[in-house]
């Protein structure tokens, strides 16, 4: 535990040092086009990563953002905070800390996630083809008791890999801008990794599809929905796909707020977990 704390402190210091060394603020993208921050700390929608990188940095700029998210469903609550650095609209380095509370037993599962994403090609708005990115999320589980109890094969860490394509179509639906994003993820993680990695039913990587669709009602407001397919590695309880509908308010290039209704299906034996998702991202540099 002490080692984990130190680890976290080191990561925080690295992020802070990077913050102070950054010179030019990134505001070179159009309002709302970087999207928001997803629950594992990557730039994206709310529950799935997009090909866009967190922050408004153009190819000549850098950007730093910080976020906080709460997802509260019937029997669980997930609190997440973290930060991301965008280097020249080419690379995104992200860090997220998750606190997962079991409301019934007041137990807690904590996890750190380090993420890296590279834009391979394209521009969300301007290229004919979608923007294409690859990334990974390395998940380090701090509290492994519950993961052990449910039969996870690995209760220390796991890494997800994803490839994602996103595109914004100007004026596509009755003059309103429309966005879609499709991702494929290779993962072993049970419930994001909070219940460990791999299980008695499936121990290897499985391929999962993730998708978002949104309409921008104005420069500041967007509504949409998301879908995230989930692996089902543990025999003790079924893991189900996630879905949400969201409304996001992006008043300027410094802050945005997203409210969603999330349906996370059955989680660790608790049926039909529905609830509210609230997330705020601030763009510091």
């Amino acid at each position: 535990m002490a080692i984990n704390r130190q680890y976290r402190t080191v990561i925080s210091i690295i992020i802070l040092c990077s913050l102070t060394s950054l010179a030019q603020a990134g505001e070179g993208k159009l309002l709302a086009t970087p999207g928001v921050t997803q629950v594992e700390g990557s730039g994206g929608g709310g529950i799935v990563p997009w090909a866009t990188l967190a922050g408004y940095a153009s190819r000549d700029e850098q950007a730093v953002s910080a976020f906080a998210t709460r997802v509260s469903v019937d029997d669980y609550r997930l609190d997440v905070w973290g930060a991301a650095i965008n280097l020249y609209d080419r690379a995104e380095i992200s860090f997220a800390h998750q606190n997962f509370y079991l409301k019934r037993s007041s137990a807690e599962i904590r996890q750190d996630i380090a993420g890296l994403k590279f834009r391979i090609a394209g521009d969300l708005v301007y290229s004919t083809w979608p923007q294409l990115s690859v990334g990974f999320q390395h998940k380090m589980l701090e509290d492994d008791a519950i993961a052990n109890a449910v039969g996870a094969k690995n209760t220390n860490s796991g890494t997800d890999f994803y490839l994602v394509a996103s595109k914004l179509h100007l004026g596509a639906i009755g003059g309103y801008n429309a966005l879609w994003s499709l991702a494929g993820r290779a993962t072993k993680a049970n419930q994001l990794g909070l219940l460990g990695f791999g299980g008695d039913e499936e121990d290897g990587y499985s391929f999962q599809a993730e998708a978002s669709a949104a309409i921008l009602l104005s420069r500041q407001w967007a509504v949409g929905m998301e879908y995230r397919q989930k692996p089902d590695n543990l025999s003790f309880a079924e893991e189900q796909d996630w879905i949400d509908i969201f409304i996001a308010y992006l008043p300027n290039k410094h802050i945005n707020v997203t409210l969603a209704h999330a349906d996370l299906g059955d989680i660790a034996g608790a049926d039909d977990q529905n609830g509210t998702y609230l997330s705020i991202t601030g763009y510091l540099w």
């Binding site: 070179g28 309002l31 009755g174 003059g175 429309a178 966005l179 879905i243 509908i245």
Partner: protein
């Protein structure tokens, strides 16, 4: 359009698309967003207020440029009357109006200016501000932007 949002926001939608239907519903949403609805050519020109409306927007854009510390330097040597005339003509043409752009090519105009991606987007923001000033509806703005953005590749980093 409003009905689509209504469906999106109603709770029954979630329960209706559970299970195997989820993916199908999502792909329906995706294909909806993928099919660009192009309005008839002249209608965009009319929505922008035809010749007079477009000239007003461009005049306001020039005013906004004059007020902007980043974009203004690009226009220090520019003949603003000519810029007003040629850009109005260009917007008239791409919006389906009865005009033909008679200015220089976008590449020629922007060569050696080294316009950055960031400054290009900043100019887009100024154009949006100018259209907001004349209360051009949001969907009309997007349709004009959609027709102007193919020129970006001939403008930035030249």
């Amino acid at each position: 359009m409003p009905s689509f949002i209504y469906i999106l926001l109603t709770r029954p939608f979630i329960t209706a698309v559970k299970g195997s239907k989820r993916v199908a519903a999502l792909f329906l949403a995706l294909s909806l967003s993928a099919c660009a609805t192009q309005s008839g050519d002249a209608s965009l020109y009319q929505s922008l207020g035809e010749e007079a409306g477009i000239k007003n927007i461009v005049a306001r854009l020039i005013y906004e440029i004059g007020d902007d510390p980043v974009i203004r330097p690009y226009f220090e040597e520019t003949d603003l009357d000519r810029f007003h005339e040629k850009l109005s003509e260009q917007i008239c043409e791409v919006s389906g109006g009865p005009c033909e752009y008679s200015g220089d090519s976008m590449v020629d105009v922007h060569t050696k200016m080294n316009v950055s991606e960031s400054d290009f987007n900043r100019l887009v923001d100024l154009l949006i501000t100018a259209m907001n000033h004349y209360k051009i509806p949001h969907p009309v703005q997007n349709q004009l932007l959609a027709r102007l953005t193919p020129m970006r590749k001939d403008i930035i980093y030249k």
